[in-house]
Subunit: 338 residues, 2 copies
């Protein structure tokens, strides 16, 4: 597998490519399957549908990796938070109060609620070409905490940041529950056949820099250690989105093999400043794919040039967006494989 070989440090004339949210709304075939289940959580937890939409972009573009179709909010949902998706508004749930304590016993029920994700991984691994890696994933503790505390997405995560300043014990308690359950989720995906595990910390940028060792780095490292203790040796991809100048410190504190880079980070800075054995993944602006053509190709050139001396997995800096023309994705893949 080019994807795993690249992570293992093998040199190749080819750069592996996959795209965040590659199984998604920009594909008509995805929208067709998605239309067969109204509730989004139910859709994620129907293994044959999750498997089918995971395979769709592989059939169309032959990406070097598939990522299991699921959602980071499956974990809070399995912790009995009332997560639901409202079309056009995104995810919602009842905000968690700082005086509310999540019952630690919920964790004993947790694993039974997420078996469908592992089953989808099993089905997908059995159907994928051998050369295509399958990535399992979860949200990072901080990012899941923001949804649980805010009750959805937010502009500035003020309520969750309040916990960091005013409710440190509650923060530690909630993070510990999330570390435990996220680890369980990743272990079950690994045991079902995933070839790599990714942790999305989509809102890491909202944590003040001085608090990131506590809130971003240590909880993610704790997850990796628990997964390793379960005998799993798969590579980890971490995506602490938006932390920019703190990426080198994150790389030193967290024992992952791949660091995903958003488009807000200069590839030149990343290549120069992050420890040399870290594989870097990214970081084309998804909006560049809306137009394609020479402007996009020049941006790709700039990224590839910066990563010439590094092990590099090509990807966007964030998820592909629904209005992206499918031809531009083909154009990008062809250009990377030229």
């Amino acid at each position: 597998m080019l994807f795993l070989d690249t992570i293992a440090g093998k040199k190749s004339s080819q750069t592996p490519i996959w795209i965040m949210r590659q199984a998604g709304r920009y594909l008509q075939e995805y929208r067709d399957v998605r239309a067969t289940t109204s509730d989004f959580i139910s859709f994620c937890l129907t293994p044959d549908k999750a498997c089918e939409v995971t395979l769709q972009p592989i059939r169309r573009y032959d990406f070097d990796a598939a990522i299991i179709f699921s959602d980071i909010l499956i974990v809070p949902w399995a912790l009995n938070r009332d997560v639901h998706f409202i079309t056009g508004e995104g995810p919602k749930c009842t905000p968690l109060g700082s005086d509310e304590v999540i019952d630690h016993k919920l964790i004993t029920d947790f694993s039974s609620k997420i078996t469908a994700v592992a089953e989808a991984v099993r089905l997908t691994r059995a159907s994928l070409p051998e050369k295509t890696a399958l990535i399992g994933f979860a949200g990072a503790p901080w990012t899941l905490m923001t949804y649980m505390v805010e009750g959805g997405s937010s502009k500035d995560y003020a309520a969750t940041r309040n916990w960091l300043w005013g409710y440190q014990k509650q923060t530690d308690y909630l993070l510990e529950i999330l570390v435990e359950t996220i680890s369980q989720s990743l272990i079950s995906q690994a045991n079902a056949g995933a070839n790599a595990l990714m942790i999305f910390d989509s809102w890491a940028s909202a944590v003040p820099s001085d608090l990131r060792p506590w809130i971003v780095e240590r909880p993610v490292q704790a997850i990796i250690e628990r997964v390793r203790q379960a005998g799993i040796t798969l590579p980890f991809i971490c995506f602490p989105r938006g932390i920019s100048a703190d990426l080198p410190r994150f790389a030193d504190a967290v024992d992952c093999q791949v660091l995903a880079i958003d488009q807000g980070v200069s590839p030149v800075f990343a290549a120069k400043s992050i420890r040399a054995d870290m594989v870097l993944q990214g970081n084309l602006d998804p909006q560049a794919l809306l137009f394609g053509g020479d402007v996009m190709k020049r941006a790709v050139d700039q990224i590839q040039e910066a990563f010439l001396t590094r092990q590099h997995i090509f990807n966007l800096g964030h998820g592909i967006t629904p209005p992206t023309p499918i031809d531009h994705v083909a154009e990008l893949v062809d250009y990377i494989r030229r």
Copy 2:
């Protein structure tokens, strides 16, 4: 003035302090004056009211600098965009289409529409204690462009980022108009008695790193050059919020004297990586002020320790928020001046 002396490189045992949005809704006396005018733009453009609310936090806390009460959207408003403020929703205007051309002749009308801002500066400078600096300000071209193109604030600025990939000529044209009018606004504030000029690029983080020289750095530098050509030698404070690892590059490209740092940037990184003659301003998380006390003081210690070897102006990493207890602001000021 401690504030200007610090910028000029003079050493002092005191760190100057002011707070972004210090004239604002957390103060009862602000809310009282604000309630006398329903329309927000009209409120900004009433010189005696703008002057009064600018002075309020100086009376209460004796900050080392005042910042004229105004809004960055006065510039698009003066370019005849239909900017209006809806309570609870923030600013709105009709989104600018990529095929719409702003009439360049509007610029000739522009200066007459912003005379009230200069008048407020004049009144305020005359009323301020001599030792208190007065800061004039404007939004940066990119940040104003996002409001004009999105029609308000946005989660990801996708429409404006589209311009960067698909409408480069229109982008250059719009940025040039904004450079011209922002420069006019800053020149008029300088001539009215401002002691320093600040440029807020609140959404600089949304520009892909590789495009920041074009979109963030050069337009801001062009403004500074035009203001200098008008014979104005005041210090410039730039706040390219969220660019983190790109701050050193910004500092090398832009001839400003002070760089404001948001709380997403490690003070250790900033102190180490940004050119040594740059004064640094920041960067306590505004949420820390909601709780005050020892947790806040430890965070202040960490910031001050990192900036020990640098010229430093204490500030928050973003604007103070309405629910902040006024006693905590006093506690912060006392602690900085201990």
